[in-house]
């Protein structure tokens, strides 16, 4: 155990020693096959054809595209960014060398190098290196828009778990996809989700059958690799009665000067007694210290807790992106169903984040917990926006919300915008919010004990975020701690 700790410490130290500039600021030169710039019905047809989709899928996309044309980009969030020219972006980019591999060992060395640079967490590195007895983590690698490799498919298959890219799932399990796609996040849900429905490039599909506990943590790396290419990932996870699955999503992106649009949709469905744990470490390129470049991240994530006693936990560590617009939510339809949202959002320099959750309580006795930790530094703005809604016939609902903001310096902003709508008098809703500054006392105390200013800051910030970080799987927690330290570098003083 102590050796594990040592390795983690060493890793954390090494990470902290890296240059203050964005670590993943490089790009690899795998040839890309673009769809033409711009967005029209032909673009949608091109994407669908490229992926060899059946007619029904194309129709579904076209319907979404037509809806999208009638919609307006939302402007209610506390975000400011230049107008996005949707005709000045590419909507499809795929690596030219299409390879179907049995294992990641056979991966294109160039792509392999990319993964190495990404610093894939310990457990997965062992898996990649083929270490015996390594804790199993299945990596469905999403490189740009196409899944290039899927590992452990066989073992998952034996358990009855389907873990595929969404494109494959559309071809191989059309009935399952048809049954659930767009059922949690409807095509017309919101501007960005509708755009995604029209042009989604790839993503992940997970199906866990009744009574199955998924034998490993599932993990996907998303990565934007082509200049000016929007990423439109689509994820669908269905957990049948009494099943369990833990899914890890991590993102990094190379440094680019132009803003890149990212609009993902994630749909989760948990049936009776099923549990889904969804963890995200988001580290898209945040732009440089002057606020130039960076990812625009407009994400729609929603879970349907459909069955009685079903449970969904969202845990997110958001350090990246120039603009984040993201509200992982739970629709708690099942009696005694449980929704949880644990979030750490860090903004530095000119980053803007408007993030939070919605807990929609329709089921009797449904419960939810929201713990949000916002950390703002530099000239950034960090908003928690959350909604707790209790339907009239949902008796005995409970919610606890805790929103804590930590300010570093005096030029950043932290905002808390809770919406509470309760139509049933038996509901118990608790909301607590605090705002604090990292105090000079704390910094000096830690420095007097031997930590330099960056280490002292990292220590205090990690302490602040602890309640959320402990919800992450081990490998992710280590990576997340490093990320917090890296993303706040240069903010002391």
């Amino acid at each position: 155990m102590s050796e594990d700790i040592d390795i983690q410490d060493r890793e954390a130290r090494e990470a902290a020693e890296k240059a203050a500039e964005y670590e993943h600021g490089w790009s690899s030169d795998i040839e890309t096959e673009f769809a033409e710039k711009g967005l029209n019905e032909d673009t949608v047809r091109f994407i669908s054809a490229k992926k060899g989709e059946p007619e029904w899928m194309l129709d579904w996309r076209l319907k979404a595209f037509r809806l999208w044309q009638e919609m307006e980009e939302p402007n209610w969030a506390k975000l400011g960014y230049p107008e996005i020219d949707y005709q000045d972006a590419y909507y499809y980019a795929a690596p030219k060398k299409k390879v179907e591999l049995d294992s990641l060992d056979d991966l294109d060395p160039e792509i392999k190098r990319v993964y190495d640079k990404l610093g894939i967490p310990l457990g997965e590195q062992e898996v990649l290196a083929g270490v015996k007895g390594a804790k199993k983590v299945a990596v469905d690698a999403v490189f740009d828009s196409v899944s290039v490799a899927t590992s452990f498919r066989e073992e998952l298959k034996r358990a009855g778990v389907i873990f595929l890219s969404i494109s494959e799932a559309i071809r191989e399990y059309p009935d399952l996809v048809k049954k659930w796609l767009g059922k949690v996040v409807p095509q017309h849900d919101n501007y960005f989700a509708t755009l995604n429905s029209a042009v989604f490039s790839d993503g992940t599909f997970v199906y866990v059958p009744e009574g199955v506990r998924c034998p490993m943590e599932l993990s996907t790396y998303f990565r934007i690799n082509a200049e000016n290419t929007g990423q439109f990932e689509r994820t669908l996870i269905v957990a049948e009665k009494g099943s369990y699955v833990s899914y890890l999503e991590g993102c990094t992106a190379p440094m680019r000067d132009e803003n890149q649009l990212h609009a993902a949709v994630v749909e989760l469905v948990a049936m009776e007694d099923a549990e889904i744990k969804y963890s995200t470490v988001q580290n898209w390129y945040p732009g440089n210290s002057e606020g130039v470049g960076g990812i625009y991240n407009f994400v729609t994530k929603r879970a349907l807790c459909q069955g009685a006693r079903s449970k969904v936990s969202w845990t997110q560590v958001e350090t990246g992106s120039a603009v984040t617009w993201k509200y992982p939510s739970c629709v708690l339809n099942g009696e005694d169903s449980v929704g949880e949202f644990y979030s750490v959002a860090v903004t530095n320099n000119y980053q803007q984040a408007d993030t939070g959750t919605k807990m929609i309580h329709n089921g009797k006795g449904s419960r939810s917990t929201i713990i949000s930790k916002g950390i703002s530094a530099g000239k950034s703005d960090n908003t928690y926006r959350g909604m707790v809604r209790v339907a009239a016939n949902a008796d005995g609902v409970r919610n606890r919300t805790e929103c804590d903001s930590l300010l570093i310096g005096d030029q950043c902003g932290a905002h808390t915008v809770p919406y509470i709508e309760v139509k049933n008098p038996t509901a118990q809703i608790e909301h607590e919010a605090t705002t604090s500054k990292i105090s000079d006392d704390q910094l000096f105390y830690a420095m007097q004990r031997g930590l330099d200013d960056e280490e002292a800051m990292a220590l205090i910030v990690n302490g602040f975020a602890k309640e959320v970080l402990k919800e992450l799987p081990m490998e992710f927690a280590v990576e997340a701690q490093k990320l917090l330290a890296i993303s706040l570098e240069g903010s002391v003083g």
Partner: protein, 248 residues
């Protein structure tokens, strides 16, 4: 070991230290006493390098090195420890994590190997036993929810673990009952009483000095040392008061 020469320092433009000169050689425990507002806490912060405390003149040499030229963490690594009058809370960070990171940062700065988790825990348990602090306290967050006495004892455990060459203890005795005072005093003796170490003990009261037994006592008033003597000076201060002793 510590040579302070004609030191002047100010906060927000207000002069607090005003030509302070003091030498504390290795092996010595030197008590600083003085009325409120004399500059006792400022002295300790200036030695620690706290931002906002501006040195406007004079020099401080620590083992021959220019202390004022070092960053706070470099001073710590060089062997300087500050016992805080009001130890600071750090929520979410356990004492174990805090002290292990601090110690290993110091060791790294000195070119030593970091301690492993096991080695560190052994050391931490040993030192908390010495200070009669329940080792379970090490798992709790730094100073969060600690009583005044627990905080001061925890400071001494930190000192034991970090094992400094020189400790500046700022009113470590305030807020302690008689039993805790004895434990802390004996802790100072066992950790810092050595030929190659020294202590600057800032206090208002004689009672801690009965346990720690300083070699020298100095009176700090209006930002400078106005009188230095043996332990008997502390006894006189306690009996007669600052005004009487300084006027004499």
């Amino acid at each position: 070991m510590l040579e302070i020469e004609n030191l002047t320092a100010e906060i927000d433009g207000k002069t607090i230290l005003n030509g302070l000169t003091l030498t504390v050689p290795a092996g010595e425990v030197h008590a600083i006493m003085g009325p409120n507002g004399a500059g006792k806490s400022t002295l300790s912060y200036v030695l620690g390098g706290r931002p906002g405390y501006e040195v406007t003149g004079g020099s401080v040499r620590f083992d021959g090195e220019d202390l004022l030229d070092m960053e706070p963490h470099e001073r710590a690594a060089a062997g300087l420890f500050l016992g805080f009058q009001y130890p600071v809370e750090i929520p979410g960070v356990s004492n174990v994590q805090f002290l292990r990171e601090a110690l290993n940062s110091q060791r790294k700065a000195r070119g030593e190997e970091p301690l492993t988790g096991g080695e560190f825990l052994k050391l931490a348990k040993e030192k908390s036993a010495l200070l009669k602090l329940d080792p379970e306290m090490l798992k709790r967050h730094v100073n969060v929810g600690f009583s005044g006495g627990e905080k001061k004892r925890a400071e001494m455990v930190q000192m034991g673990i970090l094992d400094p060459k020189f400790a500046v203890l700022d009113e470590t005795d305030s807020g302690l009952d008689i039993d805790a005072l004895r434990v802390v005093g004996e802790g100072i003796n066992s950790i810092m009483r050595a030929p190659d170490k020294a202590v600057l003990l800032i206090t208002h009261y004689q009672r801690l000095l009965e346990v720690v037994k300083p070699d020298k006592v100095s009176i700090l008033s209006q930002g400078r040392i106005v009188q230095t003597g043996g332990p008997e000076l502390a006894v006189r201060l306690e009996e007669e008061g600052y005004d009487a002793v300084m006027a004499a």
